[in-house]
Symmetry: C2
Subunit: 162 residues, 2 copies
DNA sequence: CTCTCCGGATTGACGTGTCAACTCTGCAAC
DNA sequence: GTTGCAGAGTTGACACGTCAATCCGGAGAG
């Protein structure tokens, strides 16, 4: 079949689909974040960090591992941890086995805030996303995102030239 | 069929699908923005604003209409226009027919920057998104986002209680 | 006429993200 | 030993978004 598909610009219809796709995801992200914020005073970033920490042994993870776990750049994590530390959600302490490492630990307050936020957050995900789709459609979403993922990994293109 | 679907928390699999979905969209957004930035020195926001302006009569749109067109809050637009004005991409001037209104107009430099950025941006969309999917899959994306959209519109839930 | 309210737009404060520059310590080369 | 490089983390500058407060000029109520 015609592989000039690989040379031409997107058609108007393709563009429309793209725009709807990315805007819908954006709306979902914003709605979820706003509900999480108002229901438990946590940002989406706080939630990701606390999720990784509370799942870890001793609620503690080395900073670099944490960055890998949630897929953040190191400086982004550093800034965010600074803000969370100021709010008493996490603590930072020198790592025992690695002089360079920093252990990040969820405080009791942090773990409590996560537990409190978790249920409403999961409910929001169900209400806004899961309930919008039939099980069959959910399966389609899975396949499609897998296809997109494969394509993205195949194309380093930007960011890390690993 | 069992409508306790509407009372239970998401399953592990549903959560996995959700996470993949939202993270994939996020990666796409970031990659696109980064390519747009490096290829034409425009942010995604700049692009949206300039797209709406260059499509309008006289490259001019009233500020409030512009906000509606691209679906932004007024204050977000105001901040962004301030930054774009400082860079000489757009201008602002009092509106003739409405004392309160502000006309936003794309400068020559702004229109030129948009034209220059447009082709590489469209190419990036094709490479990162369109090329990842077969035409049939693209159709599925369209249906799924439509379903999500319908669901979101049916559920005001947060933000504007319109 | 004055007072209040309304809608368009702006502003300031603050959290968030990215990029580049920097610190600090260990380790290997010489 | 000192030079310098590499990896972990931090910092500063700046762009971006949101929220609440504000400014401003017209329209009605009295």
């Amino acid at each position: 079949m015609n592989d000039d598909r690989h040379r031409s610009m997107p058609t108007a219809q393709q563009l429309r689909i793209w725009r709807n796709y990315i805007e819908t995801a954006e709306v979902l992200r914003t709605r979820l974040a706003s509900r999480l914020q108002s229901e438990s005073d946590l940002s989406a970033g706080d939630y990701q960090v606390l999720l990784a920490l509370t799942e870890a042994e001793g609620r503690t993870v080395r900073s670099s591992e944490l960055a890998d776990l949630i897929g953040w750049e190191r400086s982004r994590l550093s800034h965010h941890l600074g803000r969370m530390e100021k709010r008493g959600l996490i603590g930072r302490q020198a790592c025992v086995d690695d002089v360079h490492g920093i252990d990040v630990v969820a405080t009791d307050a942090g773990a409590a805030a996560f537990r409190a936020g978790s249920v409403p957050h999961l409910r929001a995900i169900r209400e806004l996303f899961i309930d919008a789709l039939t099980p069959a459609q959910l399966g389609e979403v899975e396949d499609l995102t897998a296809a997109l993922r494969r394509h993205l990994e195949r194309d380093p293109a930007s960011g890390d030239g690993r």
